[in-house]
């Protein structure tokens, strides 16, 4: 594509939208008469415009019905009598006698609850030991079903559940995971099932359903190592949230699974989710796990049911094979596999015109509670200008004035103290993209569960002339806590090297220097 074509691509889009000015239109026609790729581009956009028109018209067709449903709902709620709990309560409390009766009833209920709790909360194991089961396993096999309680098929029936069959071979760093995606639109609900097979640095995604194809990806050695290290955290996350979550669990019942007496534990998280685990009453071994969500009717519905959980079972032959299954075509090859960038699964944000984008890359906690965070904030259209922003920044000094500057962190949930102020450690550059590496030091004592709930990244704009945008909370969770020089070299310097063009971490960053910096900051801000 020539430079000219770049200019005309905007005009082609405007032409399809119907707003291209006449002189521009003439110039475009001249260009199109000599440029086949631009003609193809125009054809593709026109085709897409036709598809979009049809797609939205399809949605628009049912508008009258939707509007009537809205009116009915409004009518219902307008005529419904207000009998909420507060008014009933107020009614009861009007009378002196009913006040006494209510107080007595509460006392009885409280006593019964105490007896029930007392009987069932003395198991022969500690629920907080649960993560260890995964850390010690050689292989982990989880089977179950995904349900879609919030959605229905066009005929009103339930969306059929989608099977889960996940294998993790911890010893050999291999895994096979089912991924389920649901889309819901004018033509109803669609469920896509794919699997990702990971064997060391090579990944293969298998798309089932109509597509029946495989796509290859590869990750760096560093990301592969990080993935292995995080395997038990990953599996724990699916089965019972995190350690903070399970520590709030209580026993809500008992049930036998495959002849084994199990306690049923339950906890609600802060985001409308409910977790349930079935643990052997004798050994604490996890036999089943569920994740539930509250649907519109207020009922709790099972969203995921891991009905079988087994450890140290030999996976069937071919489980981790990177060969396409029979009848599946490969859209690329292991040699042309797509490279997966390190971004810690955090994603990022960009402004509406995509001039600026920003986001975390990877974070680690240090034993003293401070955080090392790699992040980016750049103008992809002008990488060279950005290089100037890093001139003169020094180790331990203020952060560079990047377009969006993550100047501090604070706990993402609970009390918003302490504030973690950012200091510059180093920057790296790979293929024109800069990563800033900063140390965030808390000005007080961090809450105990802050690492599990993560940190909110506070930001400010540094370019007065740029169009600012706001974004929702951006949070980051450290991978784990670093407390030795060897770990720092492997993980923090490893991540810096990963995002350096020459594959090397900056020479002047060491664990000792970073720890000393944190100490120095704490001393200087101490009251």
């Amino acid at each position: 594509m020539s430079n000219d074509c770049h200019k005309f691509r905007d005009r082609i889009a405007d032409f399809v939208t119907g707003i291209l000015a006449e002189p521009d239109s003439r110039e475009l026609q001249e260009h199109l008469s000599t440029c086949a790729p631009c003609r193809d581009y125009l054809q593709a956009l026109k085709q897409e415009d036709a598809s979009l028109t049809e797609y939205f018209a399809g949605i628009d067709e049912a508008m009258a019905h939707r509007q009537e449903r809205a009116l009915q709902m409004i009518e219902c709620s307008r005529t419904k009598e207000k009998t909420d709990t507060t008014s009933i309560w107020r009614e009861i409390m009007k009378s002196h006698y009913s006040r006494l009766a209510a107080a007595a009833a509460i006392l009885v209920l409280a006593a019964v609850a105490l007896i029930i709790l007392d009987k069932s909360t003395a198991p022969a194991y500690a629920i907080t030991d649960l993560p260890r089961q995964f850390e010690q396993a050689r292989t982990i096999h989880v089977r179950g079903w995904h349900y879609f309680p919030e959605y229905a098929m066009p005929d009103g029936s339930d969306v059929p559940p989608s099977a889960i069959d996940n294998w993790t071979d911890v010893e050999h760093a291999r895994s096979r995971y089912t991924t389920t995606t649901l889309t819901s639109g004018a033509d109803g609900v669609k469920v896509y099932v794919s699997e990702v097979v990971r064997d060391g640095p090579s990944w293969m995604r298998i798309d089932h359903g109509d597509r029946r194809s495989v796509t290859y990806f590869h990750v760096s050695e560093y990301q592969q190592k990080l993935g292995v290290r995080q395997i038990s955290k990953l599996i724990s996350g699916q089965l019972f949230g995190d350690i903070t979550q399970i520590s709030t669990s209580i026993v809500v019942g008992a049930e036998r699974i495959d002849g084994v007496a199990c306690d049923i534990w339950q906890s609600d998280d802060a985001h409308g989710g409910r977790w349930r685990q079935w643990l052997s009453a004798d050994t604490g071994r996890l036999a089943r796990a569920q994740f539930l969500r509250k649907v519109d009717s207020g009922q709790w519905k099972v969203a995921t049911d891991y009905s079988l959980i087994e450890y140290n079972v030999e996976p069937p032959a071919g489980t981790f094979s990177l060969e396409p299954p029979e009848g599946y075509t490969a859209s690329n090859s292991p040699e042309t596999a797509y490279f997966v960038e390190l971004d810690g699964g955090h994603g990022g944000w960009s402004d509406e015109n995509w001039h600026y984008s920003c986001g975390p890359k990877v974070a680690f906690a240090l034993a003293d509670g401070s955080i090392v965070l790699g992040w980016q904030s750049f103008d992809p259209k002008d990488a060279e200008k950005q290089a100037l922003l890093f001139e003169g920044v020094t180790f331990g000094g203020p952060l560079p004035k990047l377009p969006i500057e993550f100047y501090a962190l604070k706990p993402a949930e609970g009390p918003s103290e302490p504030l973690y102020t950012g200091y510059h450690l180093a920057f790296t550059r790979k293929q024109g993209r800069f990563a800033e590496w900063s140390l965030y030091v808390p000005n007080g004592t961090p809450p105990a569960d802050v690492q599990a709930t993560g940190y909110e990244m506070l930001y400010r704009w540094n370019l007065e002339f740029a169009q600012h945008f706001t974004f929702d909370h951006m949070t980051v969770k450290p991978e784990f806590t670093i407390d030795t020089t060897a770990e720092f070299d492997e993980w923090v310097l490893g991540a810096m090297a990963e995002l350096s063009g020459d594959g090397k971490a900056p020479a002047d960053v060491t664990y000792q220097k970073v720890i000393d910096l944190a100490q120095q900051v704490r001393t200087s801000v101490a009251p």
Binding site: E48, Q67, I164, T215, G273, N332, W354
Partner: protein, 173 residues
């Protein structure tokens, strides 16, 4: 013109004639729904939030300081309810940590138009959706989004180009 018409209906509703609110629903439901669809990229969610918006509008009509601005007020309610839902949705998505989590909005089939629309950044998806619901009228879109018509066109252009990229890219695991 419409603003003045809204003003008198709002005043009637604020009296005892709650049934007059039907007029406002019929007049504005479509715009509210289109805004919700542009923000949420899901027809069912858009319908739910549009309903909730219209109900909330009725219940808080007394708080509307300038009755002639009913349209921008009701769209603001819709936008806020959408943001609430997106926050909740994001949390639901994040919870069961990784690859196996059910993601509702991420399209895996890149050749699927609906999936690609859902993957557009909201800032681009919203004007693009309104473009098709507002009969390709940039002024109307700009008014509803409180931006200039030229910016509305710029975003539609970017939405088209990005959508084309999404429809022709290879996808990620």
């Amino acid at each position: 013109m419409n603003d003045q018409a809204d003003e008198s209906v709002v005043r009637t509703c604020r009296g005892d004639d709650k049934a007059a609110y039907t007029i406002l629903v019929r007049r504005h439901y479509r715009h509210v729904f289109a805004l919700c669809l542009g923000m949420l990229a899901n027809v069912h969610d858009a319908e739910d939030v549009a309903q909730e918006t219209m109900l909330k509008g009725l219940l808080s009509l007394r708080k509307l300081a300038k009755p002639q601005q009913f349209e921008s007020w009701i769209l603001r309610i819709a936008r806020n309810l959408c943001i609430d839902l997106l926050r909740r949705r994001k949390r639901i998505k994040v919870l069961p940590v990784e690859p196996e989590a059910v993601s509702v909005s991420k399209a895996q089939d890149n050749h699927d138009l609906e999936g690609a629309i859902a993957r557009l950044p909201q800032e681009l998806r919203l004007p693009l959706t309104l473009f098709y619901f507002e009969h390709r009228d940039a002024r109307s879109i700009a008014k509803k989004l409180n931006i200039s018509p030229s910016l509305a066109y710029e975003r539609i252009r970017m939405a088209r180009q990005t959508l084309h990229e999404l429809l022709t890219e290879k996808g990620y695991p």
